[in-house]
């Protein structure tokens, strides 16, 4: 008897099998969950299905299902060059922003987490205070500065400010992560002849991957969806990113609702794929940060 209670499987089962009602939960929970999912998804489903209908179908029965299914809207958008140009612009901007944020943020967080020097607190406060400066407040001078730098209608004109504005959140999430790396590892590395920079590249970078993934995804999605900055910086259709493209498309084809819906649903795919792949990581990364 004693042996069985100490058995690892029995121990593990305590959380799973002990109370069978927890395994499936009550029907009420599933009902609420279903209702919830339906509410959250209905508008998204409406956009996707609307793209498979004709304008006549949409006018006659705005909330109906496609009957028959029409694929021409999606095919037309996919065949046109505008959509792909905007996908390319959005991708370049989001990838460059993400890389910039991760590289700069990781280096600065490493200094804040593991070096001891005068002004460390001030430096942290500077970045933390950045949370109080949303882009909305700075947008007009930012636009003028970008204009003076000759970066209007260019992607760097988006990328550089986006990196700068994403740094505060990045640093606040990464510093606790890097500080949690035990000193013993650093001492061991130093005994083995590893310099502090070597320690950074060989130990810190690999160990901070979970935090980096979190901030990377947040930066990517933030950039992918960003609207205010492109609205100011880009005024030439060839340099549009997807959000501006969706809006331009919606006003240009305001009578062709079905095509607008097709364009809209295609443009949300990348962010959705990205997020569903890494959702678990984001919750994990935030857990560290929330606990402080």
């Amino acid at each position: 008897m004693a042996a069985t209670t100490l058995d690892a499987p029995t121990h593990g089962s305590r959380t799973h099998k002990d109370a069978p009602k927890h395994d499936w939960g009550s029907p009420t929970i599933y009902f609420i969950a279903l209702l919830l999912v339906a509410t959250m998804l209905a508008p998204v489903v409406y956009i996707i299905l609307g793209g498979f209908r004709t304008n006549a179908q949409i006018t006659n029965s705005p909330a109906g299902l496609p009957a028959p299914w029409v694929f021409s809207n999606y095919l037309n958008v996919l065949k046109g060059g505008v959509f792909w140009q905007e996908v390319v612009n959005s991708t370049i901007t989001a990838v460059a922003t993400t890389i910039g944020v991760v590289v700069l943020g990781l280096m600065a967080s490493y200094v804040l987490a593991r070096y001891r020097f005068r002004g460390r607190g001030a430096m942290y406060t500077l970045f933390a205070a950045g949370l109080m400066f949303p882009m909305t407040v700075a947008i007009t001078p930012l636009y003028l500065m970008i204009k003076n730098l000759g970066l209007v209608n260019t992607l760097p004109g988006l990328i550089l400010p986006q990196i700068a504005f994403a740094l505060p959140v990045t640093i606040i999430i990464l510093v606790p992560f890097l500080r949690a790396i035990p000193d013993e590892i650093e001492e061991a590395a130093s005994i083995d002849g590893c310099s502090r920079l070597g320690f950074f590249f060989r130990m810190v970078v690999p160990l901070s991957v979970p935090g980096v993934v979190t901030v990377g995804i947040l930066a990517f999605i933030g950039s992918w969806n960003s609207y205010l900055l492109p609205l100011f910086v880009l005024n030439n259709e060839a340099s549009y990113t997807l959000p501006l493209g969706v809006q331009a498309f919606a006003s240009q084809y305001s009578v062709d609702t079905a095509k607008v819906l097709a364009f809209t649903s295609l443009s949300m795919i990348p962010a959705l794929v990205f997020f569903s792949l890494f959702e678990r990581r984001i919750v994990g990364g935030l857990t560290g940060a929330v606990k402080g």
């Binding site: 609420i32 999912v37 020097f117 003028l144 809006q247 959705l272 857990t287």
Partner: protein, 325 residues
């Protein structure tokens, strides 16, 4: 994340680095490393965040169309005009309503959902991904699709008619009595996923042993949630409320996309930010737009500081004793 909102006293929150580092002292090599590693981030941050914000404060004292250098110094006149403009006062009121309603509408629901999704149930991970979908798609997509659905001849009214509730069909977007509620529903739908995400992360930090101990003592599920989970989730909820308040004060994208700058003020959904873009950049009054930005910033800052002083303060104190994990 108590670090996050701790502008003033962050120095105290940063614990001293381990003793292992101290003995190396800080030679010029270490100084060089510090400069090389943190320099790029500081330069980018100062150039593209701090400098523009400072310039906004400077430009706000000028009547300026954005060409050449601002020369027409008018002191505080922009600020006087702002507070005499009924449209700005309206926008400010709308912001206040949005702040309060966001907290009231999203907070309780999000806590409930986080508790639900923290329970053991099948398909939990799928649901978790799905409820974040609205948070992940862009404001432009949300705005475009909701405005199509909420049109007088849109899907929502059609759906209401087809289930026999045609009497509830409304002009959701332009009726000033209703538009703000439409906006609130869209905001809640869009951002509740973020609240749930934060709360789930907070729930992971609550030790399971506490629940088990309470369960052994005979506490029911609801008692455990009320007496243990909710109090321990407090810090996360207060951080979320902080982020939500700041976000509501800065709200721009959704309103601008759905209503545009002109309709927003007649529909009663304009915000300080849409007022700023409409009366600043879009009308070529860059000096005035910057003054509005400064007002917006000062209001946010004062609210943030008051909130930190009176609400978040105890979290920072508590964090040292409670959150050692």
């Amino acid at each position: 994340m108590n670090l996050l909102a701790d502008g003033g006293s962050t120095v105290a929150v940063l614990p001293p680095s381990g003793a292992g580092r101290r003995r190396r002292g800080i030679g010029w090599a270490a100084r060089l490393e510090i400069a090389a590693l943190s320099g790029p981030a500081i330069i980018v941050f100062l150039t593209f965040v701090i400098f523009p914000v400072a310039m906004a404060a400077y430009y706000g004292f000028f009547s300026w169309k954005g060409y050449g250098r601002p020369t027409d110094f008018i002191g505080l006149r922009n600020y006087v005009v702002i507070f005499q403009d009924g449209l700005f006062i309206d926008a400010l009121k709308h912001n206040a309503v949005i702040v309060v309603l966001s907290l009231v509408m999203q907070g309780p629901v999000a806590i409930g959902l986080a508790l639900l999704l923290n329970k053991k149930m099948r398909g939990k991970s799928v649901i978790r991904v799905l409820i974040f979908v609205p948070y992940v798609i862009s404001e432009v997509i949300v705005g475009t699709s909701w405005s199509l659905m909420l049109q007088t001849s849109g899907a929502v009214n059609d759906l209401l008619k087809s289930i026999g509730l045609g009497g509830f069909a409304h002009d959701w977007l332009s009726d000033p009595k209703i538009a703000i509620w439409s906006l609130m529903i869209i905001i809640s739908w869009k951002y509740i996923g973020f609240a749930v995400l934060l709360f789930l992360a907070g729930l992971q930090g609550i030790p399971v042993e506490l629940h088990e101990a309470a369960a052994i003592d005979g506490a029911s599920y609801w008692q455990i949630q009320r007496r243990i989970t909710l109090p321990l989730l407090g810090p996360t909820v207060r951080i979320w409320a902080f982020l939500s308040i700041i976000g509501s004060l800065q709200l721009f994208d959704l309103v601008y996309i759905i209503w545009g700058q002109y309709i927003a003020s007649t529909a009663g959904t304009s915000t300080m930010a849409t007022y700023m873009v409409g009366n600043g950049r879009n009308s070529g009054n860059f000096g005035y737009g910057n003054a509005v930005a400064v007002v917006l910033f000062v209001i946010s800052l004062v609210i943030a500081l008051v909130y930190q002083r009176f609400v978040l303060r105890r979290d920072t104190e508590g964090a040292l004793t409670e959150g050692k994990k």
